[in-house]
């Protein structure tokens, strides 16, 4: 069982929702990313998502686009982020997930990626432009290597497809809260709630909600509906505003702590199950 599965299992026992912050690796620079991950863990993050910059991030809004550009100024590449993962792994057992686009992984080599990911202690990967139809090799390797390939579902996803996605995803299902890109603002909570209960009827796999979640209030509202809440652009914006400050990790940690308190303030909506679908 990998660290992501263990985390959701542990949190379910405590009836707690996972807080999953996202930051862009290499923003403002790579050494800082390690400080930030460790500070966020201290502040209560349960899982951390690390962005790997791509020149043409079609699923990202302006905030994460700018973060990607800053990271690309240093030529931050997949190999560097894998190395960073290994460095963090020496100091921490927090589950780490990479979020990137397909081309950098393809160029790196799919087999090489899975091999090195395992060595570095990476736990999961999210690729918004790789749907399961195009990822047969990816699925095979992820099953062999124990690296979770986390799939996304969207508000536009029809029920039959939702069932396929939740059956194929590993670790958790990433539910995109709105039709849009990262950094948009989620307003319609009742739709999210309806969709999440529909997903719940289909699968036991943990579900984490992301896109458009930026405030402790939103996190509190969502905590009761999902197994995990993902916050990206709001943290990345904070990093942008404070990137030159020596206390950047403390600033980010303070915000993450607020988010974690908000998560704890929400209620997990169901009792503990003994097993997970993909353990």
């Amino acid at each position: 069982m990998n660290r992501i599965d263990q985390t959701f299992l542990r949190l379910r026992t405590k009836k707690e929702t996972a807080l999953i912050p996202y930051i862009m690796a290499g923003d403002p620079y790579l050494e800082r990313t390690e400080d930030l991950v460790l500070a966020m863990e201290q502040a209560g993050a349960d899982i951390v998502e690390l962005g790997v910059p791509f020149s043409d991030p079609i699923a990202d809004g302006p905030v994460i686009q700018r973060a990607g550009l800053r990271a690309l100024k240093w030529k931050t590449a997949l190999k560097d982020v894998l190395k960073l993962t290994a460095d963090i792994r020496e100091k921490s057992e927090i589950p780490l997930i990479l979020m990137t686009y397909y081309n950098p992984v393809l160029k790196f080599g799919i087999d090489r990626f899975f091999k090195e990911a395992e060595i570095c202690g990476l736990d999961g990967v999210i690729i918004p432009d790789l749907p399961p139809e195009e990822g047969r090799v990816f699925l095979e390797r992820s099953r062999q290597n124990g690296l979770n390939w986390i799939l996304l579902a969207a508000p536009t996803t029809p029920p039959a497809r939702l069932k396929t996605l939740s059956g194929k995803t590993q670790g958790f299902l990433y539910y995109v809260s709105l039709t849009g890109i990262t950094g948009a603002s989620l307003k319609n909570f009742s739709e999210v709630k309806t969709r999440l209960s529909a997903i719940r009827r289909l699968t036991d796999t943990p579900v984490a909600v992301g896109f458009g979640v930026s405030t402790p209030e939103q996190v509190r509202a969502l905590a009761g509906m999902a197994d995990g809440v993902i916050v990206g652009s709001a943290i990345v914006r904070l990093i942008e505003e404070h990137m030159d400050d020596s206390d950047l990790p403390a600033v980010v940690a303070a915000f993450v702590r607020q988010l974690k308190q908000a998560v704890a303030g929400g209620r997990v909506r169901r009792a503990v199950k003994t097993g997970l679908a993909h353990s």
């Binding site: 791509f54 081309n103 160029k107 432009d129 749907p131 969207a154 536009t156 029809p158 849009g180 948009a184």
Partner: protein
Amino acid sequence: MRTLPDQNGHFGIYGGRFAPETLMPALTDLERYYEASKKDKAFQSELKEYLEKFAGRPTPLYFARRLTKKLGGAKIYLKREDLCHTGAHKINNTIGQGLLTKRMGKRRVIAETGAGQHGVAVATVAAAFGLDCEVYMGTEDMERQSLNVYRMRLMGAKVTPVDSGSRTLKDAISEAMRDWTTNVRTTHYILGSVLGPHPFPVMIRDFQSVIGTEARRQIRSAEGRLPDCLVACVGGGSNAMGLFYPFLTDHKIKMIGVEAGGHGIESGKHAARFADGSAGVLHGTMTYLLQDDDGQIRLTHSVSAGLDYAAVGPEHSYYHDQGRIHFSHVTDDEALAAFDLLSRVEGIMPALESAHAVAHIVKLAPRMKRNQIIVVNLSGRGDKDVMQVAKMRGVKL
């Protein structure tokens, strides 16, 4: 060859549907509507009527007598897509997708544009069909194609500047895909070339293949036989695929796609994907790309905004590997010289994109026999480029 792509939109290893989950159902829907429209007689007759009476088809196949004589080799025929309404072949596709938009019950269309020709063709169809329209265009391209920006606005389209990345076509496509992801329930994305996730490459190829279907009939009637060679410029590759597709199984006919050589391949400032690229995924499709060792998309350069793009249509990639379509490239300077040449010798001012195809035949025709025939796709007219060319030459208008 006629069975490609497969049901998932793959041309061999190329093509496919590498799209965000939010868009997957819209792509499936689009495919369903498109497949139905092929068998729908009412749709087909409406399409035919708009192509004839709105776009002005068929376009002539013109024997370029003086150019042929000047080059002293093969006979050169020009497929006059520059005479289409709005000045380029782009309208063939936008009429088709505009009609599909109405069938799908969507009220808004969006588009990317490089040279502005596709943007103008979308704005035109949106006006004609009463649809809301927003066009994304890189700020660099807005400057060099300011005339087309104003044309779009005159027809009621909103032109939204894209200031990210290289500020050209690539970034305009990214921004259009972000808009589509956000507004997918009400909006159709009229992609302008044989690019993007399935079914765009096959659908756009089919809408554009009217070019080759006409050219085939016209050259038979003019010469009593099929040509020896077809030449077209390739940005995304829709005008080229439109001309080539109906001739693909005529194995004796050579097909040449001409890419933007910019300042030359060795300079690194170009958009010659086949000369200097490798397979990868960009904007929803697997195809030849200009990319670096980390899989980041490289910046491109071309004097022609419509060819200034890091990827190429996946079907071109497939036929490149098969050896069925050959690819060459010409530099900015060669294209500009061809722009002058065709203007002066034939009284036809080509778009800078199409001037790349003309520049290639300047090299090719003299090496061919006088009884051989070349058909060149003159994909667009050069009016939009006049300001840019004047500015480059220090002429104040």
